[in-house]
């Protein structure tokens, strides 16, 4: 069990790292939203799921409920995160945020 948890945590961290690096590396704000919106979601899903699993390692009713609550966080997060991402991108468009375009010559 511990190993599963550890691996999931590590995977979650990998995605989080991807998100963090992504928002640093991507050229414009729209493309930064992709790692920020998605990888964060999956990262938190993995980590929280790992923690929920860890919680289930002592299988009592209380712990199960806590695990469910942790998963509830995930559920809310899955609803809220894309919405937030969408809100931000919409705001960006309405605010007239210019987008980064690939230089035409590089397009395949």
């Amino acid at each position: 069990m511990d190993w599963v948890v550890t691996v999931m945590l590590a995977l979650g961290l990998v995605f989080f790292t991807g998100a963090a690096v992504g928002i640093l590396r991507f050229p414009d704000f729209y493309s930064r939203l992709h790692p920020a919106g998605k990888m964060d979601t999956l990262g938190s899903f993995l980590m929280l799921a790992a923690l929920a699993l860890q919680e289930l390692s002592h299988f009592t009713l209380d712990n199960v409920l806590v695990a469910v609550k942790i998963m509830l966080i995930v559920v809310f997060y899955f609803i809220a995160s894309p919405t937030a991402t969408h809100a931000i991108v919409d705001a960006g468009l309405r605010a007239g945020q210019g987008a980064w375009h690939k230089p035409p010559g590089e397009r395949p």
Binding site: L9, G12, A20, A36, D40, I70, L72, R94
Partner: protein, 89 residues
């Protein structure tokens, strides 16, 4: 196991630093918003992790839950601002 949680937590802090870079150095306000939003998601996880470190995860889950629900409000408010006022500084 605690060690792993601890290191995971520290790793999250380090990642927050990276997101914070976007938050502090922009360049546009929306970039800041992305950075802060990213910090928010890590915070949620970190809170639960801290709960595990204290062995009182049942107590910390509520906070994380509240956080997950409310973090959204702030981001939404910020994006509403741009939707209504437009313009970027």
């Amino acid at each position: 196991m605690d060690k792993i949680f601890l290191y995971a937590g520290l790793a999250l802090c380090a990642l927050m630093l990276a997101s914070l870079y976007r938050g502090v150095f922009g360049p546009t306000v929306l970039d800041r918003l992305i950075g802060v939003n990213a910090i928010g998601s890590k915070t949620t996880v970190l809170l639960v992790l801290v709960g595990f470190l204290f062995h009182r995860e049942d107590m910390f889950v509520d906070i994380a839950l509240a956080y997950a629900l409310l973090n959204f409000v702030a981001v939404l408010a910020a994006s509403r601002y741009f939707q209504k006022r437009g313009g970027l500084g």
